[in-house]
Symmetry: C2
DNA sequence: ATAGTGTTTATAAACAGATAC
DNA sequence: CCGTATCTGTTTATAAACACT
């Protein structure tokens, strides 16, 4: 089920925060993307979660795959040392959305509340404004924690900006300003090229449409309605959730006097070239923006809208209205047996649970379990199956004590602020090595890699499987006029087939080693109708998928005659 | 008319070569892109074409716009000096497709004709194989003219590769190999990252579809049929056109023994980083790949398929079959009165003609002349109007002495080979300045620029308005389910309106200064049906478009009620 | 365990066209 | 009014991160 993700949450995490983030994420994606989340509590044992994860990963596929590849040059490092580093690095090498926003929010001091000149008409009601960097950044060391780069992609920020306007239109300049206002990083430290990137994103992504006034004078940027998840920055993080903090008035705006372009100082510029690459590498991967976290936030809030509980809607195909407004009525959840197949579909929020491949969540009822295992994971695969047309029946178990959201604040054990994780100001004599020479003469790999660097040395960046995804809603294939295409046209592209019988479900968990089956309670968060429900899930872990050649192939042609 | 381009050809150019290139270009683009070309002979005077162009440009908008921006740092340069440099630089600073291919071809010595191991089934019949660099490139100076980067974009090369297979399918590895075989540059000098770029292009562009065998074992890359222009390398340049040269047998294949990856030697690698940026800047712009040229090729060949003459087909909306196979019957050409509007739509092949803005090509018959002037140019604008639904009537004038393709070989005046236009091997101490420090501290411009460099100092890169375009066929907007969108949805996005009366046509040329009107013979090359026809065109040059605010606005709401 | 394949984001850049100065 | 500079918009190239095979 490409629209469903399994989220394993440690007992120490703040469930409310997790739900908030997931809700925002779900609203982003829409029908095709993940809009339902199965929340499972972390492993029962209170052991070091990282250790559990690393152990689990060692016996599963290669969870650290990417990192392993990156760290290929540092093979000499003893694995034991690596492991010892993991324990803390997992939690401190990256900041999470929530952390980042929380920090931003607490530091929004009482700045002058003043609108831009022509901001009369737009009431972007978000209260999150990044601190404008106390104006001391002329000192050269523009490294206050406030001017850190926000954890959002350009695409996401553009959506935040446009969706903040009631009419959902913005000129380019307005987008610039909105971003600068809300993320001072771009005004203060980013190179001017960031605007180029904004424009690039506007052009590149089909979800951004340019509209022109009848006279052709002004042109606005809008979001293609079918693809708009109406995500706003305040959806990503609502400061009002914290009952203790005074909810900022809707109109809270901070005006930053320094409006000029101030091309990012020049003290240390013009020295040598290669002054570029100043910025933090800025992981291009959206998935990397949200990473394992520990939440020092308020303890035990549960539901933003408690009325939404126990009401699960159907994926609604894809012709559904893009509006995330509640859509009660449908009562099923697409707890696909066809979960991604690989552990990558499991989102480990903070304390990991044994990662599994070929993991499946089965509900005790008869429900379709697609056979299409390959290409099905909600992974980076672009060519994915359309959302299943049939609504999967699901069993819902009302009430029961579940998810004793620990709310323990033991997180203080880890340094949570990490003053400034950027030792890349002058590590190598500034301009000498643009590309870290570690990589040696030639990567030999056709995918250039950055070579492990201080701030990203831990091979456990693994758990960072995204929860935030800002990509547009993918509408169904639209039934292209391919007419008589070739014989083996990629199946998972057109066929809405998800009707395999239950046999497939049961036959999947058969790895004797890591097979781990248990009936467990879970939560289902459906962002299509803002519902949160309890479910009883039958989780089957099969540690590997050597069945590529065995049953898998058989089932394909067996249950999908179109493929023969 | 976004699908039509005006090509001004100097008398000294080889028409056949021009037609070949244009044909290839046209087949690339399809319905939406330029598939019809109006060929006009260059200015009658035999004066220095460059001078003519520069004079013309000086009185028109800002032909050197981009370059002016790039050269912004070198404002101190006296314009007179700049002009003196133009004269030669226009012709020697870039190699054209034809030149490049011609050079490749002449140097394909009798290498061992031998197939790859498993090349039995595929008969890619292209005869162009780039010389494998005589095996001397171990000397370090891998700079033979043969290992120069081909003038094609990755997207184009991938299309070449895939379309060379009869079944139009290729695995990634096959694509790699095809490109390495046909363009040794990538095997010999390119960094391994070029494969990353290939994969990136495959994923990024929707026109490339991945198909999988039923067993899911192998996956092939194909081209979305609706978008496939079936371009092959041999379409870009047919060596058999030259009657003097022995037409290579279809099966001519050159096997290059050096199959290993040989990661581009290492002698000078690993010294410092920043060894990157070795390659020639490699203009990202496809449009830059074809530039003003002088053709020392065979003189007076005319039509590849003379039978195709005088048969012009209609744009065929966009539901037309993607096959560029002849489609005789339709006899109209969309000689849009609505030509781009700016001089940028005029392709100056070698000797320029006075560039004009608001240039129009009118046929003496009544024909629709769309008013939508803004956003209409066949420029880089993505959001362009769909091809007009109405077929524009056109007058065709059979026979007549036209286009006395000069065939003069006065081109020898310009150095034609330009041994190796790459002084970028060790201009700066290798690794010191990754980005040319010329740019100063901060470009201040949000679009990073490369700062003028030796090989691109002439502000007259202007004439390089593209003729080669390999982007996929753009199918019509598909009538998105935007339902009731906002009031001012960009008009040139959905409306098939091209019905403005003739008044618009005549009223457009009113600039007293540069107005230049004349009835002229021209050729029309329609790549949709491989036809070449003569026409009589009424060319109206109006030097400016201040009418943006005048008649233009009026006419819009006047003739397009939907816009009101 | 590694390398190959595939997807996505970031950034630089070239260039076209429009507008502002 | 003109020429230039900047802004806006589109595309390509390249590096990189990461997922999956
Ligand atoms: Mg767009
Ligand atoms: Mg693709």
């Amino acid at each position: 089920m490409p629209d469903t993700q399994v989220v394993v949450i440690p007992k120490t995490a703040d469930l409310q925060s997790v739900i908030n983030v997931l809700t925002a994420k779900g609203k982003e994606r829409g029908v095709e993307g993940p809009n339902k989340f199965i929340l499972l509590s972390g492993s029962s044992g209170s052991e070091d979660g990282v250790e559990a994860l690393s152990r689990a990963t060692s016996e599963s596929k290669n969870l650290l795959g990417p990192e392993a590849g990156v760290a290929g040059d540092a093979k000499a490092l003893p694995s034991s040392r690596l492991k010892s580093e993991q324990d803390c690095s997992v939690l401190n090498n990256s900041l999470t959305n929530i952390q980042w926003l929380g920090r931003m929010n607490t530091q929004v001091s009482g700045a002058e509340v003043e609108k831009k000149e022509s901001n009369k008409e737009n009431f972007d009601s978000c209260a999150q404004l990044q601190e404008p960097q106390h104006t001391e950044e002329e000192a050269g060391a523009v490294k206050g924690p406030l001017s850190e780069r926000p954890p959002y992609s350009y695409m996401a920020m553009i959506q935040f900006a446009i969706n903040s306007k009631k009419n959902k239109k913005m000129t380019l300049k307005e987008i610039y300003n909105w971003i600068e206002d809300h993320f001072p990083y771009f005004r203060n430290v980013a190179k001017p090229g960031w605007k180029n990137s904004i424009r690039h994103n506007l052009s590149l992504h089909d979800m951004f449409i340019r509209e022109t006034t009848p006279d052709g004078k002004i042109s606005f940027w809008t979001i293609k309605p079918e693809a708009n998840r109406c995500l706003t920055l305040d959806q990503v993080y609502k400061p009002t959730v914290d009952p203790a903090a005074p909810s900022y008035p809707q109109t809270t705006q901070i005006y930053y006097p320094q409006q000029q372009k101030r091309v990012m100082a020049d003290p240390k510029k013009a020295t040598t070239c290669t002054t570029e690459r100043k910025m933090k590498p800025l992981l291009p991967r959206t998935d990397s923006y949200l990473v394992p976290i520990q939440l020092p936030l308020t303890p035990s809030l549960f539901l933003p809208s408690p009325a939404a509980a126990l009401s699960l809607s159907t994926p609604q195909q894809s012709t559904a209205a893009p509006n995330p407004i509640s859509r009660t009525g449908c009562k099923r959840l697409c707890i696909a047996p066809k979960v991604p197949k690989s552990e990558s579909s499991v989102v480990v929020i903070s304390t990991p649970v044994p990662e599994v491949k070929e993991e499946r969540v089965c509900v005790p009822v008869s429900e379709p379990c697609s056979s299409k295992r390959k290409e099905m994971s909600s992974s980076r695969r672009k060519q994915r199956l359309v959302t299943p047309s049939t609504e999967e029946p699901v069993l819902l178990f009302p009430d029961s004590t579940f998810f004793d959201s620990g709310l323990a604040s033991d997180v203080s054990a880890f340094q949570e602020v990490e003053p400034d994780p950027e030792p890349r100001r002058d590590p190598q004599l500034e301009g000498e090595t643009f590309k870290t020479p570690i990589k040696g003469s030639h990567p030999a790999s056709s995918t250039p890699s950055k070579a492990l660097e201080p701030w990203k040395i831990t091979p456990l960046g693994k758990g960072s499987r995204s929860v935030l995804d800002f990509s547009p809603i993918r509408t169904p294939p639209q039934r292209h006029e391919h007419s008589g295409l070739s014989f083996s046209s990629t199946p998972f592209k057109e066929l809405p087939l998800f009707n395999s019988p239950r046999e497939l479900l049961t036959s999947c968990s058969r790895d004797p080693q890591t097979a781990n089956r248990s009936l467990t309670e879970g939560l289902v968060l459906d962002t299509m109708n803002d519902s949160l429900s309890k479910i009883l899930v039958d989780i089957s872990f099969s540690g590997l998928e050597d069945d590529d050649l065995g049953m898998a192939n058989l089932s394909w042609s067996q249950f999908i005659p179109e493929l023969k």
